[in-house]
Amino acid sequence: MKKKPDASLKGKKPVNKAKTKTLVYRNPSHIHNKLKRSEMYGKYLQQKRKAKDEQKKIREEQLGEDVQKPVPKTIDNTREVEPTSVLENDLEVAADEADDEFAPYFDDDVKPKILITTRPRPSQNVFYFIADLQMLIPNLEFYPRQSYSIKEICQFAMNRDYTHLIVLSAKSKVCNGLTISHLQKHHDTGLAGPTAFFKVSNVVTAKNIPKHGKATSHIPELNLHGFGTRLGHRVGRLLGSLFPHQAQFQGRQVVTFHNQRDYIFVRHHRYIFNEKKKEEKKSKEANKDEGPPVKARLQELGPRFSLKLRWVQEGIFDTLHGEYEWFHKRKEMDTSRRKFHL
């Protein structure tokens, strides 16, 4: 026997009125007049917002006092666990890092001396970028490339006691690649250190940063943030070894290498601390925090760019015969949006 709907409905479909909150305005897409339509749309959005807030209040009253805003799932939150991530108490990794190629820089035994060069026949923008990099990294010396091969340049640099070599590559007048090669030989094994190649993007020279400041020659502090895995540690230490580790705090400058989702953001700031004046204030919301007593303000100096690691090679730059410690293989490694390697 066929079921018949209830007679009280009078032929209309049943609607759960408890669930839907009927809006006074409906979506004004049916209005042909553009002026009127845009006006009604504004009102429609306001109403929608108001209904949402009312629902929230009802929910809060129902659930009680301690209603915490649920933490949304972000890609950083739901990142896949890397087995190679370094945990705090790992003695083995600590022993390895105490003995690796960069330990002398972090112990301040060796001062870095860096040679920077470009691809043959670079464009003008690259020179401006190099000038900014000379403000960013102390002890950076530029030599024109002049069609020597990178292996030859490594040899020349090693002969003249340079510790690092940076080679910028460019395409269409914009810098797009950065190779850092550590030239100093390890005290035990006698082999020159690793080479890393990064893809450079979003290069903004100092001039183009709004309200930028001018960097001084004080040695900046170093901030390496977000390097979690073993590979991340290695790259972080390579970047950290570019700087002398005797920061001059009078200069109040800091260079930040922030790694997030395998992109390393490089920023150069000057900071200043402001103490908050203590006022006797009667605030309506007594629960709210007054904020920290000392606040730091930042002024951006110098260039701003991002790096993405492409490969790390053992030994000095040698694409033909070198051995890779890590090589990014897109099809094999980028299988998931939540998998990051640094």
Partner: protein, 488 residues
């Protein structure tokens, strides 16, 4: 299955993939809550020693393979240490330090840096008249024969003989002011007591360990028609292929991988005037994209080639031709059977298990990976925290082996391996089928005796096997095998 790995910081670790920790933490927050992840499957062998790069391990070799009893390690500072197995009841071998031989190459190493021109290159165990000896070489070309059974610290007595391979030639190989060491790879042929060594622009040479004389030297391919130059030579990985498709009673063939992205196969069975010095097979241009760093034979006709960017290729030896530049349109796939997906950094060592089709690969990406060599699937991947240089696979079967399950399935069923016959190329059918048929006869003979004893074959299995028998070998009579089974 027991695996021993050595890394560049001098740590020796014993790994049992079957006991390895399974992934339990799913998100980053959960994993941060656990303080240290202790991997159940990994145990450090030389716990007392401080990790240090000058004690980095260059090579490992078994010196007593019965029950994985003893192995020795060659360190960067030129010392050889022997490790003996402690427990026999437990899964882990619990290896303990047994004895040490310092400075086997005779170079006294001070506190300063090690000379990269004189680093130890590798070593391997071989047995002569029932006595096990170790042959070690360094990058200067010096080869030392060591007796590992002597007591501790008796290096002078242990070193039985030594000779230098690249003598008489100009000592240094330089390019653009960079000096390269003389020798860059070595390998020992245990069966015939040869050591093969090669260096940058130095062809592979074979020296006899008993007579300390050079026996054979490789010859380069003829000059290229376009450039009028012979292809460049830089052997970076050498491997002797035992029981391969091309081997016979006289000896083995040798595979040499070079830094110029190719692997060459040499026939070294004949030594005197009729010696063939040119390679008889070369991998085609484009098959291997980077420097070859490791070679391993996975079965009679397959060679696993590991390169500097972490690519592990399985190459079919039968399909390689004489010319490096192949005229076929698909140059990169000639001879290639496929790739083992996984390693991200340079593969430092690839080793096959003694008899089961399992391969262990170890590299600079700090991971130990175990693969099934037949279907190229990854069986286990263990994170070992340091850049690994060498690996050893034990022979002993474990009491409980989860990853040995693939192995144990095929174990009793020898006929399954012979299905390869169905896929042989029509060109090679004539030459290859004969070899396989010979194998079939032996294997089927064994199988019959085994099946008669076991009395476990079901009817379906016997049907399958009799079908395979008929397809594989035409010479064999079909009636007796199946007749024998029906009687059961």
């Amino acid at each position: 299955m027991r695996i021993v790995t050595g890394d560049e910081c001098g740590l020796l670790k014993e790994c049992l993939p079957s006991l390895a920790k399974k992934k339990s933490a799913k998100t980053v927050d959960e994993s941060k809550k656990s303080n240290i992840i202790v991997d159940e499957g990994i145990r450090r062998i030389n716990n007392g020693e401080r990790s240090c790069r000058r004690r980095g391990i260059v090579a490992l070799t078994w010196t007593n393979t019965e029950e994985d009893r003893e192995f020795s390690s060659l360190h960067l500072d030129g010392s050889v240490e022997v490790w003996e197995r402690g427990h026999f009841d437990e899964d882990f071998g619990n290896y303990r330090f047994s004895r040490k031989f310092d400075n086997i190459f005779g170079d006294v190493v001070g506190d300063g840096g090690l000379d990269p021109m004189k680093r130890p290159l590798g070593f391997s165990q071989y047995s002569i008249e029932g006595k096990s000896m170790i042959c070690a070489a360094n990058t200067e070309g010096k080869v030392v024969l060591l007796d590992p059974t002597l007591e501790n610290n008796q290096t002078a007595n242990a070193v039985r003989s030594s000779f230098t391979v690249f003598q008489g030639s100009n000592n240094k190989s330089t390019k653009l002011g960079v000096t390269y060491p003389l020798a860059s790879s070595m390998s020992v042929d245990e069966a015939n007591h040869y050591v093969a060594m090669g260096g940058k622009e130095r062809e592979t040479v074979l020296w006899d360990l008993n007579t300390s004389q050079q026996v054979w030297k490789a010859k380069n391919l003829p000059p290229d028609a376009q450039t009028l130059l012979q292809p460049q030579v830089w052997p970076t990985a050498i491997s002797f292929l035992k029981n391969s498709v091309f081997s016979n009673a006289d000896g083995n063939i040798m595979a040499v991988g070079s830094a110029h992205n190719e692997v060459r196969i040499y026939d070294i069975r004949v030594k005197d005037a009729q010696a063939i010095r040119r390679p008889f097979a070369v991998t085609p241009f484009g098959l291997i994209e980077h420097r070859v760093t490791a070679l391993c034979q996975s079965n009679a006709h397959t060679l696993v080639v590991g390169d500097a960017a972490g690519y592990l290729n399985a190459v079919d030896l039968r399909k390689l031709g004489k010319k490096a530049r192949v005229k076929k349109s698909i140059t990169t796939t000639v001879g290639s059977q496929g790739r083992f997906v996984g390693p991200v950094g340079s593969v430092q060592s690839v080793v096959k298990h003694y008899d089961s089709p399992v391969i262990a690969a170890v590299g600079l990406d700090r991971m130990l990976r175990v693969y099934d060599s037949e279907n190229r699937k990854e069986l286990a991947c263990m994170y070992l925290k340091q850049r690994l240089k060498c690996v050893l696979v034990g022979r002993e079967r474990m009491a409980r082996g989860d990853d040995d399950s693939i192995v144990s399935e095929n174990e009793g069923d020898i006929d399954q391996e012979d299905v390869v016959d169905d896929y042989v190329d029509s060109d090679l059918e004539g030459s290859v089928n004969e070899n396989n048929e010979d194998d079939d006869d032996d294997d089927d003979g064994d199988d019959h005796s085994g099946s008669q004893d076991s009395q476990e074959l079901s009817e379906s299995e016997s049907d399958i096997e009799s079908e395979e028998n008929s397809s594989a070998s035409d010479d064999e009579d079909d009636a007796p095998p199946s007749g024998k089974r029906r009687k059961q």
